[in-house]
């Protein structure tokens, strides 16, 4: 397979050697036509002169320029017919080129007519007929050894045929009249199968046609059934385009592949609120991200950038999933900030596309809006961000008033930490609530944690776990379980979010809040720690010198954390600082630590008393008694 791709290098390279007459063709860019007609003026010594043909051809080009498509076509058909007449007797390369280019121009005429007169079944069948002619023409007249190898020069033909399909997203077809797009995809499929089945196809075009075939099939399925077939997506994913930095063509093809793949995944997300093949999704995002960072033109195409940033946004929301988050560790607030940024950019791209004025409902607009406001309010609440999301112009313009009102209600409920209100207002937007369920569960989790620490722990000195369940419920049916409560309490310690000291009584299911419940867990210092042997209940080592702790005792005590003051390393530190801080904590004995660190009081009461010191004193006497 790989050898098929290698030829891409010369595929779009309109280098003088291999394509001296090919310049006649024009490049089409999003329906905007601009062409240069240098064909006959670029005569070489071997070229014979065919004034009639050339005149007719140039007239055709002039008509095409003036958008007289019908007349232009007639001219090119004339050229083609003349060529066909001459050819059996005179296989002059120039004649063949004229025939080839005439057919190409006929195709151009039809394609360029579409923006003016609309897509129709007639145009489709005409183009298909011309393509068949083209295939036959090449099959008969192609000469592999000729520098004007027709089969190899189909590049521009394909550029014309597969004109860019921007500004419509696969995941946003709901409100569109799609019959024209559907026709186009039928046409594209037909063209692909004509050329793939034709004997004249040069192998370097195979991947291109495969991509176009899959893409049109995906589009067609989405337009008719609302969803794509998994097999199309996986075969599209498996098409690999060999890297070639000098080649804009390979880059375009790669962008087409990744944007279509991402659109499929976004469609899945908008339908299910989740993406099954998250690994591929993530991979495609990073491919597109790389392409965009390398190319200025890509990074300035709002359609592509909207797909990229929207994908990044929803991926960040799903980052809790272990398959996505296998290696990159991010705190929840970092994630929220990144997601917020991605949604804000998406909003700006919508603005660039002029979509912000569009008052018809678009689900994905609402998702972007909700994603942006929800992530903003989380950051606002925890004090990591100070911008009110509703201050943003993009927000005010984009949504319809209902959506904005609803989101504002959610915002207020969240800011007031009204759990039941939050739940009710989120449930008013069923669809958004479902699609963004990862983010919504983050919101609930954070809100519950904040309620626990800022509203309950500071007020109650003792509360039962059932009461906590009741206070943290979202509605009558969404009551956290005992395990949920315990997990919330314990996680808060490990994540450094616990704001009030607490103790549990799991016998009566009570939680005590407040520093006064701090207790000394042991009256003995680290020096007196001896790991007992599991069977004999004696110090495991050091039978003779029982007064000395062995190294392994200290290691054990330190590792278990028996005598270490738990200390959160708040500032982002590097590896060396991190381990130095831990080392210091291990080596210090808690009561020496007292003055230096404010966090000392996190676990232990202020007035620690140590038995072992008195014991030492008493022990001093004991041996003397026996003397």
């Amino acid at each position: 397979m790989p050898e098929e791709y290698e030829d891409y290098d010369d595929f779009m390279m309109s280098d003088d050697e291999s394509m001296n007459i090919d310049d006649i063709a024009f490049e089409s860019d999003e329906g905007q036509q601009e062409h240069h007609t240098v064909g006959s003026s670029k005569e070489t010594e071997t070229t014979r002169y065919f004034p009639n043909i050339e005149y007719a051809y140039n007239t055709g080009l002039a008509f095409l320029d003036d958008r007289e498509f019908e007349k232009a076509r007639e001219q090119f058909i004339d050229v083609y017919k003349t060529v066909i007449d001459i050819l059996p007797d005179d296989k002059e390369p120039v004649i063949i080129q004229f025939g080839f280019q005439a057919l190409n121009q006929i195709i151009s005429c039809w394609i360029n007519e579409i923006p003016y007169n609309g897509m129709s079944g007639q145009i489709v069948s005409e183009i298909i007929r011309t393509c068949e002619c083209l295939c036959d023409f090449i099959a008969v007249n192609n000469d592999d050894h000729d520098t004007n190898n027709l089969a190899k020069n189909l590049g521009n033909t394909f550029t014309t045929l597969f004109y860019s399909n921007s500004r419509i997203f696969l995941f946003d077809l709901g409100s569109l009249d799609c019959s024209a797009v559907k026709l186009r995809m039928e046409l594209q499929s037909a063209i692909v199968s004509i050329f793939l089945n034709s004997s004249c196809l040069h192998k370097k075009f195979v991947p291109l046609l495969q991509v176009k075939g899959r893409v049109s099939s995906i589009w067609y399925d989405c337009l008719t059934t609302g969803y794509y077939s998994e097999s199309d997506l996986s075969s599209l994913r498996s098409i690999r385009v060999i890297d070639n930095e000098t080649e804009k063509y390979t880059e375009d093809l790669k962008i087409e592949i990744t944007t279509v793949i991402l659109q499929c995944y976004i469609l899945e997300f908008l339908k299910a609120g989740d993406i099954k093949e998250a690994g591929y999704f993530k991979e495609s995002i990073s491919i597109l991200d790389k392409l965009a960072s390398k190319s200025l033109s890509v990074s300035q195409t709002p359609e592509v950038m909207l797909i990229l940033h929207f994908s990044q946004g929803i991926m960040l929301l799903m980052t809790k999933r272990p398959d996505i988050n296998s290696s990159i560790q991010t705190s929840v607030f970092w994630r929220m900030r990144e997601a917020r940024e991605a949604f804000l950019r998406s909003l700006k791209h919508l603005e660039e596309l002029g979509r912000n004025q569009d008052k018809t409902p678009h689900l994905f607009h609402d998702i972007i809006l909700a994603g942006f406001t929800f992530t903003s309010m989380i950051l606002l609440k925890v004090g990591k961000e100070e911008l009110d999301p509703f201050e943003f112009e993009q927000v005010r313009i984009l949504g319809n008033q209902d959506i904005i009102d609803n989101i504002q209600l959610i915002y207020v409920n969240f800011m007031n930490l009204d759990l039941m209100g939050l739940f009710n207002s989120l449930n008013c937007m069923k669809e958004i609530n479902f699609i963004l369920h990862h983010l919504v569960s983050d919101i609930y989790e954070l809100a519950q944690s904040l309620v626990l620490w800022t509203k309950i722990a500071v007020v109650y000195s003792c509360i039962s776990i059932p009461d906590l369940e009741n206070k943290l419920k979202l509605n009558e049916y969404k009551v956290p379980t005992r395990d949920d409560i315990l997990t919330l309490l314990m996680q808060s310690i490990l994540k450094g979010e616990a704001m009030v000291f607490y103790k549990l009584d799991l016998r009566k299911d009570l939680v005590y809040f407040g520093a006064m419940y701090k207790k000394q867990l042991t009256m003995y210092g680290k020096e007196s720690f001896r790991l007992m042997n599991q069977n004999k209940r004696k110090p495991a080592e050091a039978k003779e010198c029982e007064s000395l702790a062995s190294l392994s005792d200290f290691e054990y005590a330190n590792n278990v954390g028996l005598f270490t003051v738990p200390r959160k390393l708040t500032k982002k530190s590097n590896i060396t600082e991190f381990f130095e801080a831990l080392k210091e904590a291990r080596e210090n004995i808690i009561y020496i630590d007292n003055a230096q660190h404010k966090s000392f009081n996190k676990l232990y009461p202020k007035d620690m008393k140590f038995t072992d010191k008195y014991m030492n004193l008493v022990d001093l006497m004991a041996p003397r008694i026996h003397d």
Binding site: Q520, V560, K609
Partner: protein, 437 residues
């Protein structure tokens, strides 16, 4: 179950197949003497070891009998021997196989080593020291690491640089063998911070590995989990420069994430099954496992004790997925060892504070009893002695009547000196009696 066993076997085979020469011999011996693998597996391992010994024409391995027994061969099978090993290497090889480590070490140390083979030689010395279980000696090799030279290596030899990095890894491994888990991982990560080339080294095993990358990574996983405090796991995973490491070692991040989310039960599943089963395969991981397992469990128990005044052992057993008797046993061990203020009362673990002077007072009481006893003892000794003296005076009088005059005279003399009389008073009577005695 049968299925998972089958995959385990194939993994072992693959892991074992990565070893060559003396490394393979030692691994084969470890595997056939451990309770790992089926008799059929053991036979294959032993046969492979014997074949190698036969190939190099040297059978003075201390494990020879074990190999013969496990393989079922009566004697070492004949094979075509390898001829192309240079003489000096062969001698070294023989010394390693026959466990004459001191001599092997001597031959390596006394060899004239060209500058561009310095670290490869040092690595072999280190491996020898580890084989001989001289971990302290191995760690001390660090003094022979020449940093200036390392900077030059980059321009010279990749093999030398790899050897240099592997020596660093081996020195971390030595700390692991000595169960100094904190030093092991803190040294490793400091090393990683200075030289990220180590990541690449950990991705690909060398051709003749001494310790597999997989084993190194497990050592680091165990060390981090055991020695980094629970409260700092969340700080640890967000450290800069660690992303690349987490990519080669996803197990660590998986475990840490579970611990941070306080999914302890799920964590122990992985800890016991993944980490616990790997340790069996490896002679290097094997030794520390029991201690590491206990420490990890104790760490979680202590976390629960830290946050609760009352907690049920059955609850702990259920949430952590650890057998209830083991929980009870290990908890009471922890409480006793650290003198924790907890009591186990049936199924319940209760915080029970003692007055800080309770133990000293207890001890003082014991001392008091001891002193009382001693006093009692001395008192009775005194009275016994008094009796004896009294008795002898009486006897003396009876025997020698004149002595009575003498003694009365003596007494009269004494009476004349009031100080002497005082000396005889109660307080000093003890010493006086001893003197008389």
């Amino acid at each position: 179950m049968a299925h998972s066993n089958a995959t385990d076997d194939s993994e072992t085979k693959m892991m074992f197949d990565q070893f060559k020469g003396p490394n393979m011999i030692e691994r084969a011996h470890y595997l056939i003497t451990s309770n790992y693998g089926t008799p059929e597996n053991k036979k294959q391992w032993a046969t492979k070891a014997l074949q190698y010994l036969s190939e190099i024409n040297y059978i003075m391995s201390p494990h020879l009998n074990a190999f013969l027994k496990a393989s079922g061969y009566a004697e070492v099978p004949e094979t075509v021997s390898i001829q192309d090993i240079p003489n000096d290497q062969m001698i070294l090889l023989q010394k390693i196989i026959s466990h004459e480590f001191d001599e092997a070490l001597y031959s390596l140390e006394s060899k004239k080593v060209p500058r561009n083979e310095y670290y490869r030689n040092l690595e072999m010395i280190m491996q020898l020291l580890i084989r001989a279980k001289n971990y302290k000696g191995a760690e001390e090799l660090e003094y022979r690491m020449d940093n200036i030279y390392v900077n030059q290596i980059h321009e010279t030899l990749k093999e030398e640089l790899d050897a240099y990095q592997r020596i660093q890894l081996l020195s971390c491994a030595c700390l692991f063998f000595e169960e100094q888990y904190f030093s092991c991982c803190s040294n490793f990560f400091k090393f990683l911070e200075n030289d990220d080339g180590i990541i690449d080294l950990l991705k690909h095993d060398s051709l003749d590995p001494f310790i597999l990358n997989e084993e190194f990574l497990l050592m680091i996983v165990i060390s981090v989990l055991v020695s980094v405090p629970l409260d700092n796991y969340a700080d640890f995973i967000y450290l800069e420069h660690l992303k690349a490491f987490f990519e080669v070692c996803p197990l660590l991040i998986e475990c840490l994430q579970l611990l941070i989310d306080t999914k302890f039960g799920k964590f122990f599943e992985i800890w016991h099954e993944v980490v616990g089963s790997k340790y069996q395969e490896s002679p290097f991981l094997n030794k520390g496992w029991v201690a590491a397992k206990l420490m990890m469990r104790s760490k979680i128990y202590f976390f629960y004790l830290r946050i609760s005044n009352y907690i049920h052992i059955s609850y702990l057993s259920k949430t952590l997925g650890i057998d209830i008797n083991a929980v009870r046993e290990e908890l009471s061990l922890l409480i006793e060892s650290a003198h924790l203020n907890f009591k186990i009362d049936g199924d319940l673990v209760v915080y029970k504070v003692k007055h800080y002077l309770e133990d000293p007072v207890q001890k003082l009481r014991e001392n008091q009893v001891l002193i009382d006893k001693e006093l009692e003892h001395r008192k009775s000794q005194n009275s016994e002695l008094q009796n004896i003296i009294h008795h002898s005076i009486v006897t003396n009088e009876e025997k020698f009547p004149s002595s009575r005059e003498l003694s009365s005279k003596l007494l009269e003399d004494d009476h004349m000196d009031i100080n002497d009389v005082n000396t005889l008073s109660d307080a000093e009577s003890l010493s006086f009696e001893y003197e008389v005695d």
